[in-house]
Amino acid sequence: MSDHLVELAKSHLTNIPVSLISQGAESLIFTTTTHPYMETSDEGQQYIVKFRPPKKYRHPQLDAQLTKRRTLAEARLLQRLYGADGISVPSIIAVDARNGILWLEYIGQQIENGVSSLKNYLWLEDSKADYESLLRAVGDMIARLHQMGIVHGDLTTSNVMLQKHGSQWAPCLIDFGLGFTSDLVEDKAVDLYVLERAILSTHPVHSDNYNSWLMEGYKKGYGKDQGKFKQVMKRYEDVRMRGRKRSMLG
């Protein structure tokens, strides 16, 4: 991980002790015990600081625009989704859109192979008893998201964090930087297609099971509104078909 990016983040966060926990594709994730504007009552309380560093490879204009747009989009969507029925997302504490900084509730914990993302959890073993119920819960949550007219835009197993509720794992959706509001079936269908492809490439051995559990959960998430579900499914098949028709040329 690049030190100059960490330094840059710290320069935006004067007098706030942060420690880097991971470098994603577009952001650095830090933890801190400092709340941006309230006295911290609980000593052990941790927060997430998510920093989207400038990307040297992008044209500065494009970079500034993307950073601001995505940071704001994420903040707005998290704000709208927090507390929504059947949806779990980290709560948002503070935003600095120009510098690409979000202050979020701390989500997840460490497991044997890293943070408790769904990806890492699924990579742990060939099959665990709760894989099926977890994937169904994720599908259900995505359905609720779509019913609210929100598209995640980057559904992968890395972007689902797991949290312990008692002895049970429960999913929590993160990373809404590519998210947007839309009620088009096309957008929802592509959202699902992106997830299906992520499962296929990341978890190839059990992808059939995983995808069918997700879709069953997704169907259930629509509750009585099965008409909407069918519309999305119909378009989803179209999107997949387009995928297969592609790669005509070498």
Partner: protein, 467 residues
């Protein structure tokens, strides 16, 4: 260099003239991957910039390899011992696949000829492997690698029928030249490899006909190769990247690929048109020459652009979409040409003068498209925990793309690997190389299995030669 170009476009050269101008490709230089380079060396080209005024120059179909020589360099700068590890199967210990279980007793090498013609390039190459696993110490030898590109007039794309005719006209001559350059006799060959797909139907078929006839004539087995696998395996062999995330960018494909469990898995790809197709089509809108390639000419124009115009930016997870961007920038270009002064992006509303040039459009298009490509590549890298990137495919020659990728990889303290145009652009040697790997694993194609297919996904191929 420029003397090999036909500025006078009215007279197309005869075959003999064209042949004489086919210089031998530059000698094969072993790449510099053995050591870790302290700094990154830029790829450079000494070809003169085609200027925009050359707009109406119709150019002929000579070999791209003759006009365009790149310094051969491999970009590499840091850690090499990263293992890409998906699906939880930890592979700390490497067990070697035995590539020699079908070796003929007494023979120390394998030699294969490869025929490629899936799009507008016809390529023939001959490769040699020694016994034993391929490594930095035991590299594949490129014995010959010749190519001829079918070039269409500005504003026109290549049609399957005409492209097939071009391939039929040249295929036997290229095979002959490839054998001569390699100094290889038919007795030394072990197999004949051809592109089975994906690609355009008629051109693919025109080449496999030659492969089938040759295979019966010389009594050699046929190996059908997936074009994309050819690019990936050749890229790995040339650069020494052992387990990279692969960005495959060409006229027909845009994919982000990583290896796991004996398949090259597609992590991200275009949801509509391919990057090369997008650039080619914009070149047609601009009516700039298709020679040496439309994308190359856009790249040269982009170097002179400086105003960045905001274009749609459409990344969806690890996938991307480009048709909307193309439609938008086509419209800008058409407004510019037509002098539609009501377009506020292009024309200053007070003076009614154009504030944007064609060069600016090319610049903005490249900046936007390549930023999207680099972004999805970085996503895939973060997703599978690796920091090696290999760029393959014709668009991979683009210096700006390489530079952007390098900037991204540096921030991740990783390594970037790219090849020059001999291996980036479609060629026969990569088909020979990937085919020979399959051959060494015992794969053979009956004649009835040699029917080409336009659709052939990268992840359909079982990569038996890797563990």
């Amino acid at each position: 260099m420029s003397s090999t170009r036909h500025q006078d476009t009215k007279e197309l050269p005869s075959y003999e003239e064209a042949l004489q101008e086919h210089e031998r490709p530059p000698p094969y230089t072993p790449p510099l991957t053995g050591s870790i380079m302290a700094s990154i060396t830029r790829l450079s080209r000494d070809d003169p910039d085609p200027i925009y005024e050359d707009l109406n120059n119709v150019v002929d179909s000579t070999d791209f390899a003759d006009v365009d020589h790149y310094n051969y360099d491999v970009l590499s700068n840091a850690v090499r011992d990263v293992s890409l590890d998906t699906d939880g199967s930890s592979k700390g210990i490497v067990t070697m696949v035995n590539l020699d279980q079908y070796a003929k007793p007494g023979k120390h090498t394998y030699t294969a000829i490869g025929l490629e013609g899936s799009a507008n390039k016809l390529g023939v190459g001959i490769i040699r492997h020694n016994l034993g696993p391929l490594s930095q110490e035991n590299r594949a030898q490129v014995l010959s690698n010749v190519r001829d590109t079918y070039i269409t007039p500005p504003g026109e794309g290549f049609l399957p029928r005409d492209t097939a005719r071009h391939h039929r006209n040249w295929v036997v001559r290229l095979i002959k030249r490839s054998m001569e350059e390699a100094g290889v006799s038919r007795e030394e060959l072990d197999c004949i490899c051809f592109t089975k797909g994906p690609g355009m139907g008629a051109p693919l078929q025109s080449v496999v006909i030659a492969a089938r006839a040759l295979s019966q004539l010389w009594d050699l087995p046929l190996i059908g190769v997936n074009h994309c696998i050819g690019h990936i395996e050749m890229g790995r062999e040339i650069t020494g990247a052992d387990n990279p995330v692969v960005l495959y960018v060409s006229g027909g494909n845009t994919q982000v690929i990583a290896y796991s469990n004996q398949r090259y898995r597609i992590f991200g790809e275009t949801l509509d048109i391919a990057i090369g197709n997008c650039l080619d089509r914009f070149a047609r809108t601009l009516k700039i020459p298709n020679y040496p390639s439309p994308g190359y000419n856009i790249e040269q124009l982009a170097k002179k652009g400086s105003n960045y115009i905001e274009l749609p930016y459409t990344v969806k997870g690890m996938d991307l979409s480009m048709s909307g961007i193309l439609a938008y920038i086509d419209q800008l270009a058409n407004d510019l040409f037509k002098g539609n002064t009501s377009n506020k992006v292009i024309f200053n509303q007070e003076t009614k003068e154009a504030q944007i040039t064609v060069e600016d459009l090319c610049f903005s298009l490249q900046e936007t498209l390549f930023a999207m490509l680099v972004e999805i590549t970085e996503r895939a890298m973060a997703h599978v925990n690796t920091n090696q990137v290999l760029i393959v495919g014709g668009v991979g020659c683009n210096e700006r793309l390489q530079k952007m990728m390098e900037d991204m990889v540096l921030d991740r303290k990783g390594s970037i690997y790219a090849t020059d145009e001999r291996f980036c652009i479609d060629n026969g040697i990569m088909i020979a190389h990937a085919g020979l790997l399959e051959f060494r694993m015992g794969k053979r194609f009956e004649l009835k299995d040699t029917v080409c297919t336009q659709k052939f996904r990268t992840d359909e191929v079982l990569v038996s030669w890797r563990d």
